[in-house]
């Protein structure tokens, strides 16, 4: 079974708003969380979830499942050996259905199926990351380009393709936008 369909099955359930699968080492395998949860914000949650599991394992009992209920939504956290499945759901979502479907998903989470995921194997987070280039970096790149062109106009220049603008450049998956 194609692993991405397993996550589609979870999102098909009424009231389910987001799914995320990440490893304890920090790698995000699947991120289908709503757009308002930015990578920076999610990184905080990920760190806290990992800390919570470790602390509870050591000081209470090793428990794999946590349900955290808030005023309008709830979170379901389910752990396998190395992974955590996070579900964000609205109040109307059915917990029993969510458990059943996530049981199926977790059964299929093997190293082989994880390898099917497009982001699998990449070290950085797989969610879109917007990186603002520092002004010093732009200036340094421009200086390097100018000095190279003075030395030899004919020589090949490994100058970075960074346009000089007043605004900081932003990248999406390595491409400027």
């Amino acid at each position: 079974m194609e692993i991405s369909k397993l996550f589609d099955n979870i999102l098909d359930l009424p009231g389910i708003e987001g799914v995320c699968l990440f490893g304890f080492e920090g790698h995000i395998y699947v991120n289908r969380m709503p757009a308002f949860i930015t990578p920076e914000v999610f990184a905080d949650a990920q760190r806290r979830i990992t800390a919570m599991y470790e602390t509870m394992d050591e000081n209470f009992l090793p428990c794999d499942d946590y349900v955290l209920r808030f005023s309008e939504r709830w979170l379901l956290l389910r752990r396998t050996e190395q992974l955590v499945l996070l579900i964000l759901a609205g109040d109307k979502a059915n917990m029993a259905s969510t458990r059943m479907v996530t049981n199926m998903t977790m059964k299929h989470l093997t190293p082989e199926t994880l390898a099917q995921l497009p982001s699998s194997g990449e070290r950085p987070v797989s969610v879109p990351v917007a990186v603002a280039v520092q002004a010093e970096m732009v200036e340094a790149a421009v200086d390097a380009k100018e000095s190279e062109s003075e030395k030899s106009a004919a020589a090949e220049q490994p100058a970075p393709a960074v346009p000089v603008t007043g605004k900081p450049m932003r990248f999406f998956r390595g491409r400027p936008y």
Binding site: R48, M52, M56, N59, L61, C63, L68, F70, L75
Partner: protein, 98 residues
């Protein structure tokens, strides 16, 4: 405690002091209850969720239900045959009456 399959309960203050406790295994729960509730609130905050209401910790042989109460927390330990939703309803009723 009179509900079937309830093993114990503990009420901790915000500082972590045990105010009331009864039953088995509650000592261990008392040590982590406030930490757990605080970190649960922070996890929700990270994701833009406010108003932490309750948490369920589900292990192989038992379930813990935790709720905020007067700045502190109350935790109830249940075995896996308990009807969690019924126990939560009872807890809410007791809290509202107190």
């Amino acid at each position: 405690m009179q509900s079937p399959h309830v093993l114990g309960y503990v009420h901790c203050s915000e500082a972590g002091d045990v105010l009331v406790q009864e039953g088995n295994e509650v000592d261990v729960l008392a040590n982590v209850l406030i930490y757990f509730q605080q970190v649960a609130g922070l996890i929700g905050e990270s994701l833009g969720l406010e108003g932490f209401n309750e948490a369920h910790i589900q292990g192989k042989s038992l379930t813990v239900v935790s709720m905020p109460l007067d700045g502190g927390a109350i935790g109830v330990i249940l075995n896996n045959r308990a009807r969690v939703s019924e126990v939560i309803a009872q807890m809410r009723q007791i809290i509202s009456q107190s």
